[in-house]
Symmetry: C2
Subunit: 216 residues, 2 copies
Amino acid sequence: MNAPDTGPTTRDRILNAAERLFAQRGYYGVTIRQITREAGVDVALASYYFGPKADLFRAVLERRAEELHGAILASIDAVEKRAGDRPPGVESLIRAFAQPSIDRLVRGGEGWRDYIHMMAGLYSSQQSEFLVAMNDMYTPAMRRVMELIRLSIPTASERSVTLSFYMLLTAVISIYSETVGLERLSNGTIHPTDFDAILDHLAPFFAAGFHRMASV
Amino acid sequence: MNAPDTGPTTRDRILNAAERLFAQRGYYGVTIRQITREAGVDVALASYYFGPKADLFRAVLERRAEELHGAILASIDAVEKRAGDRPPGVESLIRAFAQPSIDRLVRGGEGWRDYIHMMAGLYSSQQSEFLVAMNDMYTPAMRRVMELIRLSIPTASERSVTLSFYMLLTAVISIYSETVGLERLSNGTIHPTDFDAILDHLAPFFAAGFHRMASV
DNA sequence: GCATTTACTCAACGATCGTGTAAATATTTT
DNA sequence: AAAATATTTACACGATCGTTGAGTAAATGC
């Protein structure tokens, strides 16, 4: 068994091509025909496997969601365990939240990079149908981080932690998208792909913000 | 002179419609025919006034850039003057940077709201041609804020201030886009349109971050 | 008044879109 | 091996896309 197979399934070839193109140009910027052309399969196969275009988009979103979300939860659990019976520090929680995505972005291969770019592009779009779907996939992990931050800074109100976390979230996601913004802002001295260095800055930076708003 | 005219110019009607639609669905999500239909004018007039679609998009971007950028610079100058000969505080610089956009977003009418939504959507997109163009329009103001922050926190390295400012920038822009993210994160208790309240949180939050990274 | 420029309409171009359908081929199940 | 199912191909559909060019009406310059 396990004959030398010819690579990914047709279904997966379509998903891979869709992932890459949606990441580059967004939902409306990509046509079914471009996707199937890139995948090297007949146009009709997209409808055959996924139905309408919106369902294909959702399928791409869902394919890797469970693994990434699970990894984030596991990462948070690990930080919790390491902290013993005290609540873990805010900075380590931020790292735990962002690290799994960065790992996959940097070391997970093309597919993961495309997936994360695609999510980052989606998050700041106005297409609330998809946005809400994606948000829901990662809600438990986000809720968990906010809970633990509240335990770590008991004097901070729920509202304050939510607002602060939202700002953290938007910054993290913008970094995932690797836009040219950072490169231009720094005159080319900081590269948007230096994720590890960026996270080393981001974590204490935002942790300070959370603590500053402890009494609000 | 100045006969009772029939409202905006045809040119401006097209720009207004384009602004509104691009803000909602992005560059690829909008067709010239939708724009001209919304504007109530013939399809050919889009090409007549602006040439290809990309040039129309750029025209929308440019129309309000000078005014907003000027207002941001003026806002920074005002804070500087108020501070006398000492460098202004980081928190007031953050407010000065964000306030003009928020003013127009909340109190500038539909056109300004659409324009700012459109910019926010563009910023997190991967369409670097437009993104770079927009970035350049607002570079002087961003440079100025970073300079003044460095004067306010002389021990912070240029690299540190650039990274911190980038995170501020991404958060501010995400807030401008009024996505459903914040509303869902807070279970509906925080409304994405409460810009003044959000800015009251954001300013001290990020100021603390800047100061925390003073020695890096 | 006439000529030229400007503003706009109308119709059409070739290209591409998303999505079906019917037939052909490949694979699996019986 | 036969039957049933799954996959793939080829093709066509009506619709819409961005853009152009020819023609009309109004404003402007002389």
